[in-house]
Symmetry: C2
Subunit: 252 residues, 2 copies
Amino acid sequence: MESYEKRLRDFLLRGDKIFLPHISIDCVTFGFHDNQLKVLLLKWKDSGPWCLPGGFVKRDESLDDSAKRVLNERTGLENIYLRQFQAFGDPDRMRSKQSFDLIGAATSWVMDRFVTVGYWALVEFSKVTPRPDWLSEDCKWFDIHRVPKLIYDHNSIIIKALEALRISLNDHPVGYNLLPEKFTMPDLQKLYETILDTSLDRRNFQKKMLALDVLERLSERKTGGAHKAPFLYRFDKKKYERAVKQGIKTGF
Amino acid sequence: MESYEKRLRDFLLRGDKIFLPHISIDCVTFGFHDNQLKVLLLKWKDSGPWCLPGGFVKRDESLDDSAKRVLNERTGLENIYLRQFQAFGDPDRMRSKQSFDLIGAATSWVMDRFVTVGYWALVEFSKVTPRPDWLSEDCKWFDIHRVPKLIYDHNSIIIKALEALRISLNDHPVGYNLLPEKFTMPDLQKLYETILDTSLDRRNFQKKMLALDVLERLSERKTGGAHKAPFLYRFDKKKYERAVKQGIKTGF
DNA sequence: GTATCATTGTGTTGCTACTACACATTGTAT
DNA sequence: ATACAATGTGTAGTAGCAACACAATGATAC
C-alpha cells in the first residue's frame, strides 16, 4: 500500500493522464432526516473549509457517469437519482485556492482553472454511510440551514441546486429516493415543506399527492405516535417512474 | 495580414495558450421569420457538414461571456438574451472528428475530447447579418424543421435547446428579442405557435398575453393586409423585464 | 376507566383560471 | 355595394385550487 504522500504526489503530477483537466463535477446530495433537509459535505485533509463531494472526469467517462461514480464512492449507493443542473465557469470561482505543500503542487493540473458541472441528487438518508475518500479526512451530513462557509463557490452551487430541486417539484414527484419505503402522509408533507421552506395545507396536500397517482395506501397504520395513527403509504414504483419520466403538472 | 493557413496552424498548435482545452460552448440561436423558427448555423472551411456556432473559453473569461462573445461575432448584436441550458459530455460525442490536413493537426488540442456547454439565445431576425468567422465559409439561418445532419451531437443539442426554450415559455414571456418593436397580436401568436408547434385559440391567447401585463397597445393599426387591420402592440420594457426576472405563472 | 386533546380522515364551499365557443366589426378585393 | 376573411370582444361551462369544518381516533393524564 503506497503512502498518502506518494499517492497525492502522483495524483498532482500525473492525474491529468487519467482525468480531463479543467473540468470537474460537484454533487449536491440531499437527504432528509429529523424533518430537516441535509446536504452531504466533505473535508479534505490538511485544509480548513468543507466542500462539496466532487471529482474529475475520466478521459473515457461521461459527465453523468463521473457524478454517479463520485456519489457511489461517498455513499455506497447504486442507482442514485441525480440530475445535472448547471455548469459553473467564472474564471475566479477558485480564487481561494488550496495549497498542497508538496513539490509540484503549485504547478499541478489541479491548480489551474476548472469549470465544474453541478449535479443534485436525492438519497435515502438512512441507507447512506458517508465515507471520505483518500484525499479527505471527513464526510458527513449538514443541515441545509447550517452549511458552513465552503471553499470556492460551493455555497452558491448549493443554493442553485436547491432552486433547481424546488423547480423540479413542479413537474416531478419527490420522495422515492428520500423517504423510507413506508411512510405516512405527514412524513411526505414535511419533506415537501422542508424542501420548499413553507407550510402547506394538510388536506389540500393530501388531495394533490393522491391525484398524482403514484402512491399506494397500505392497510397498516403507523403506531407509537402520541395521537391518531396515520395510514402508511408506499410508492408504486412503476407509476412513480412513469410520472418522473412523463412529468406531471402541479404547482407549489 | 497573415494567411489563413498560418493562422489555422498557429491556432491548432498554440490556441491552448489562449483558450481552455477540453471545454467549449455552443449556441443555439433562435430567430423568427416568415412564421418559421430559424436556427443560425455555421459551416467550417474545407469540411462537409454544418454545425452550431460555438467557440472556446478564454482563460480569463466566464462561460457566459464566451457565449456572448461568440454570438456577438456571428450576429453583430449586443446584449443578447441567452441562457445556459445543459453541458454535453459524452466521451464519444465527437466521434465524427474533423480532419484538418495540416501538420500538427492530428495532435492538436482541438482534436482531444471536449465537454461543451450549451446556450440558447433569442435574437431579432431582421437585425442580424450572419457572418462567418475566419474558420468558416458560411453562416446562415435554417428553418428549425430543415436542419441538416450536423457534426458531432449538434442535432441533439438543438433538440434539447428547443425543449428548454419551450419550458421557459411557462415562466417567462417571449417575444421581446424575437419580434420587431411593433407587432400585432397574430404575430405574437404565430411566434408562440411556431415555438410550441401547436395551434392556439386566438381569443384565449390574447387574453392570456394581456393578463401578463407586459404589452402596450398602440393606437396605430397595421394596414396593408387583406383584411381587418389589427392593432399594433409593443412590449413595455420595464414590465417585460420585471416579468422575465420574477417569472410568471402560465402554462401552455 | 374515562376525559382530554392533538392529530388524522374526509369532506364542502367559493374563487380563479382556463377551455370552448358566438357574434359583431372592419379593411380589402371583387 | 357586396362578399369574405380576419380581427375585437364577450359568455357559459368546467377543472383545479385555496380556504375552511367536522367527525374519528389513539395515546396520555387523572
